[in-house]
Symmetry: C2
Subunit: 404 residues, 2 copies
């Protein structure tokens, strides 16, 4: 007889553990259409084949493994395999591995779905390479068009269409809608400590906070760091530094989030006043109005400082996603009526493919698995194995409810 | 008959103009032991050969082209061919090309030197690749030992000894002292506007301000930019931003210079609170005491902020050079007794190989050529051709005085 579902899970998990891991930091570098992420993609194809599922691959590299059964549009679950730079091992892969293990669980139980069940992997969820989060699900649903996306460039000036074509993808039209997928449930490691506080291994997402990424391009006047008098300078580093502090302060005061985690300096030379600083702000708020207000306040302070520094500032929103309220009916079908009581329902500040599908009209929901420290996007991201296995059971139960 | 000296100069200048030039910015990228700088080095070897000079190359890649004549230690002139990242075309090459043209001028006049005249090119003057300015002259004179320098690494973790050996250099012992070189005169584009204010094409350096480079390593706690509450963060970007503003303010108040022109962020990801920020401060002051005081004040403010942010800060001085007063006798032999009056004598805030040689006991001096905007370490760095030719004449006159 075959191995048990916990054994399956642990074996899959140890398959993935070394791929794209930095020996230096212990973090993961799994950028889309590059070696480590492609290895994970090949691993997924093998897993699908071993289970006799039917693999559907779209023009963007998104994958769905179908358990063809029953009729009508499918119940889909899954997540992503890419990571942020130096990220954790759970954000994304936990949802994919749990989805495969949940399918194993249903098979083991002899469950017969009344409709197809799909296990999905969306590409470039983090936006770590091309700057647009949830790129794969945006393209599949039409939230972003291929015409707009194909010209996006990575840090080495490689275009998205070039990167995709080197992996065999051509780009194309959106195709993912309610005629194909009746509902989507994404399992994810929690990126906070709500479940720790509630003493629960698994919870259900209620909503995603609005989220924006804004590029600040600040240009000044390059010059010699020794000979140029301080009062003669037009130094973009000063405008940037003050903006980073202002963002932190404004977000703190408002009880929201704003972060400058990425900054590129030109020419990045110790003995030169820089010619330009480009920096990216990530901002998230509990409402669309709060986001607009926070970003407005930060940009105003940045513009004032640029005027004083004699630098030029342009601010470009690279992506702005409104609040997503997950489908209330779906939430209650998932969370209610369990032997051990209702599962907790909680909001999140992190974006997910489930948010994109939901905004595009596909009823969606999320399961969260407890994260003991709440740390995420970091090598320290973690979930305990018993909680991961509880997540598999919860996902199997959810799929059984939705596909019956 | 051969071309005139101005023609020689202009031809050499146009030979160099395209090498390592960015079509995007118009600036130069001529880092040591990499393609563009090696092309300039090969060009220098050709120029030396065409003039029948004897080429001496040391174990570090420094070059001296000797006009063997007379006896005793030589009179040396020259500069460097490397540039800062995205730098100007004049900083360094003007001194080398002018030295060759001055030798041509002396030949043309039938001058017979009473001692050898050498044209030198020192490697890695800017420190743009291995972080230590005037590396070639430091190694040649023993101001820095090979044992210490060989383990320096560039941004791609290539060690200096690896980079040198790929260009055929082995490293070795210092050799440059007064028994070899009686005095050194470096011609350089001015990196300020003193000569503009004085209405003079050429001037003589009096002294170099003290100069230090300090690496600030700030580490914090990587985390998710969306889900981590502002008050739970230990964000090294905030410590850095406040330090950059403090450096500017302190330097402005003190009438000195402090610049953060280079910053590296890890993992440099938009949706992550960074794990670490490394930044380099360039500081220059009119006295050693002022430099210690300025750096002390900035580091104190940085430490206070790191404590508030819950980040860890270490500050490493990568190089600190004391004030250099050039040889007063040499200055007066060069600057005095000209038909059009004495040449102006002025200080500089920029470091040079002449400062290293001077500090190591070799009488040294510098000639500056007017820079209409004062801008340097920038694509906009410039000198007018008539001023450049006046520099050649001034250098030829200087060599004639010193080698008679």
């Amino acid at each position: 007889m075959g191995a048990s579902v916990p054994d399956h899970f642990e074996r899959m998990w140890s398959d993935l553990a070394p791929v794209g891991r930095s020996a230096h930091s212990g973090g993961y570098f799994r950028q889309p259409f590059a070696a480590a992420e492609r290895e994970l993609d090949a691993w997924f194809v093998e897993q699908v084949s071993a289970r006799g599922l039917r693999l559907e691959t779209d023009a963007f590299g998104n994958r769905i493994a179908w358990w063809d059964a029953g009729e009508g549009p499918g119940v889909m679950t899954g997540s992503h395999l890419d990571s942020v730079l130096d990220g954790g091992g759970y954000d994304g892969p936990l949802g994919v591995v749990s989805a495969l293990a949940a399918v194993d669980r249903l098979h083991e139980r002899g469950f017969r779905p009344a409709r197809p069940i799909g296990v999905s992997v969306f590409v470039e969820e983090e936006g770590s390479r091309f700057g647009l989060a949830c790129l794969g699900s945006r393209l599949a649903t039409g939230a972003t068009t291929w015409a707009k996306a194909q010209v996006l460039k990575d840090r080495d000036d490689v275009r998205l269409d070039e990167a995709m074509s080197s992996s065999g993808m051509t780009g194309g039209d959106p195709w993912l809608d309610r005629s194909r997928v009746a509902c989507f449930v994404e399992l994810h490691v929690e990126q906070g400590r709500d479940l720790v506080d509630r003493g629960a291994a698994v919870g259900v997402a209620s909503r995603i906070w609005p989220h924006g990424r804004y590029r600040f391009d600040i240009s000044g006047e390059p010059n010699h760091a020794g000979t140029t008098r301080m009062e003669d300078r037009h130094d973009p580093m000063l405008t940037y530094a003050m903006t980073a502090l202002a963002a932190n302060k404004q977000a703190r005061l408002a009880g929201q989030r704003a972060t400058f985690g990425r900054v590129d300096t030109a020419p990045n030379s110790t003995n030169s006043v820089p010619s330009a600083v480009t920096a990216w702000m990530d901002a998230r708020c509990e409402s669309d109005e709060a986001l607009a207000s926070l970003v407005g306040a930060i940009v105003r302070q940045a513009r004032d400082r640029a005027e004083r520094d004699g630098t030029r500032l342009t601010v470009t929103p690279e992506s702005v996603s409104g609040a997503v309220d997950f489908d209330p009916d779906l939430i209650s079908r998932i969370a209610a009526d369990h032997e051990d009581g209702d599962w907790p329902v909680l909001p999140t500040q992190a974006g997910h493919d489930a948010g994109i599908l939901s905004a595009q009209g596909i009823p969606s929901a999320m399961l969260f698995v407890r994260n003991p420290t709440g740390v995420s996007h970091s090598p320290a991201e973690h979930a305990e194995m018993p909680d991961c296995l509880a997540g598999v059971d919860a996902l199997a139960e959810t799929l059984a409810r939705l596909a019956s």
